[in-house]
Amino acid sequence: MFISKFSRLGAHAIKDLVKARSITPRTSYVPAVQNSYSQALGHKSFCTTAEKVSEEVNEEKQNVSVTFVDKDGEEKNIKVPFGMSMLEAAHENDIELEGACEGSLACSTCHVIVMDVDYYNKLEDPADEENDMLDLAFGLSETSRLGCQIIAKPEINGIRLALPVATRNFAVDGYKPKPH
């Protein structure tokens, strides 16, 4: 992915946060992977107390923890069931993520920045259609994705998504005209 002028400005806002993230992990990572083997055996009879507690949490957990960081730096942590898109999850939790085309890959308004490159790499590569829309997104960065295309799966438990700081890029003077 090429970094454009916009992405430099957009990424600026979250650079510090990203640095902090990679040095000091916030909370302990709770794997949400369903262990079908232990399920089949009846996990309770085979585990130590500590493992038992975390696996009980696994059994019930059909969701992932996601944190949204808005343009003012305010954080909101939500639980997103497997299979739900981040856009849908944001709307269900009153997070201000626009979705003009309601997930049809016809706009870029649900653009989010994945704050950790490790989590970004766990996502499937964007299709051409998504890249076409990302081309037009404000505050584009190297770890940008469309919220409607990020689907909750166990591997992304703990993912942090920043809403782009668009107003910082928006200037009437020297504004780069966008195609329409």
């Binding site: 454009s4 626009e98 003009a100 706009c107 259609e129 404000f138 009437v172 966008k178 195609p179």
Partner: protein, 483 residues
Amino acid sequence: MAIFGKLRWISRSFTSLPANPLRICVVGSGPAGFYTAEKILKAHKGVEVDIVDRLPTPFGLVRSGVAPDHPETKIVINQFSRVSQNDRCSFIGNVSVGSSVSLPELRQMYNALLAYGAESDRALGIPGEELGGVYAAREFVWWYNGHPDCRNLAPDLTSTDTAVILGQGNVALDAARILLRPTVELARTDITSHALDALEESSIRKVYLVGRRGPVQAACTAKELREVLGIKDVSIHVKQADLVTTPADEVEMKNNRIRRRVYELISKAASSGPSPPLPGQRELHFVFFRKPDRFLESDDRSGHVAGVHLEETTLEGDDLGKRIAVGTGIFDDISCGLVLKSIGYKSVAIDSLPFDHYKGIVPNVGGRVLSDSTGDLPQYETGLYVCGWLKRGPTGIIATNLYCAEETVASISEDIGKGVLTSNSSKPGREGLLQLLDSRNIRVVQFDDWEKIDAEEKELGNLKNKPREKLATWEELLQVASE
């Protein structure tokens, strides 16, 4: 009937608001108008917003600009409809600011936010521009999208096999695609029947997309380009020589991912080359480094265009992004019977509104309108704001207005906070406007009247396996609205 409606409105405005709500009138119900209204309503619980439009139908270019075969782009209408349904918001259609009501009159009743876009066109200013068969792309788009102002455009698609489109932005690509797409595909969209009928009879088999500069500078974007390159039964023609890039081009592509992806798509299309022409196959030609010098008049058909006289160009200027096309004195012609100029829209000025005729926008800072005063210090027009194309010029996508609206609403909020904008009992708002319009016999269209139009269009569309059949004349629209 009309009186009932008015009483309902007046009672609504007294239910949830403070005694003297701040009243803002948004002029224009396209994306700029609706995003602004939404943000104002959200930020200020004591404000009443009315959205006025000169058409009986809302949504601006989402309805009249987005191509019929791009229905997903129109989904944002759902969000805009929810805004209209807010208790503190009302859509007032069939009201033209500048003729039904003047701007000074409106400003006596409301604080005003102008978001009426750009309904005119840049002119080339070359000989023959007035010939028959030469249209602005905007007119052609309005025609196939059922805008009542272009219902009778009647472009002649049967006397020629070639159309030339000047410009290579997404609007130019839309026009090319509508001319070249198999009509069976178009028949399932919300394209108007009068346009579909004309396209079914069309003899146009070749479309030229002509740009002054090179493929690196083409103004279109990847998605639209990919789409037009993939139209069924259309062969793509690009000259290999036009693909040669300069070091300046390479730098431009390195800095701009859109430019790079567009260039790669065009380049790939050129190298795969057109297959030998099959019977009935249509052609799309990308012509680069040509600027129009004049339009040629037909010998057989006086007053009608027969071709475009083009001058080859070369790019000059080191400053990236400011490289311009300069004529070389070498000319050639393309024969054609239809020309669409897709070189940019232009806003229309109205009385008593400061206007920059060179840039085609209302002079403003952050959405606050600047007065015409010639003094040293900039002065702002109190209670007058702009948003959208009227503020920034006619570029950008629907989403661009999201950020534009945020900026203007930030200025409005600041002014409310500073006491520059106060709710004032002498600003009668909606009641005043409706009384004035009534005295001038102007029949307004409310949102639920638009819903009657919407329902009728969907029902008519159902009969033809289309999402809707648009009512494309003023008479039909107003008649259904008042049922």
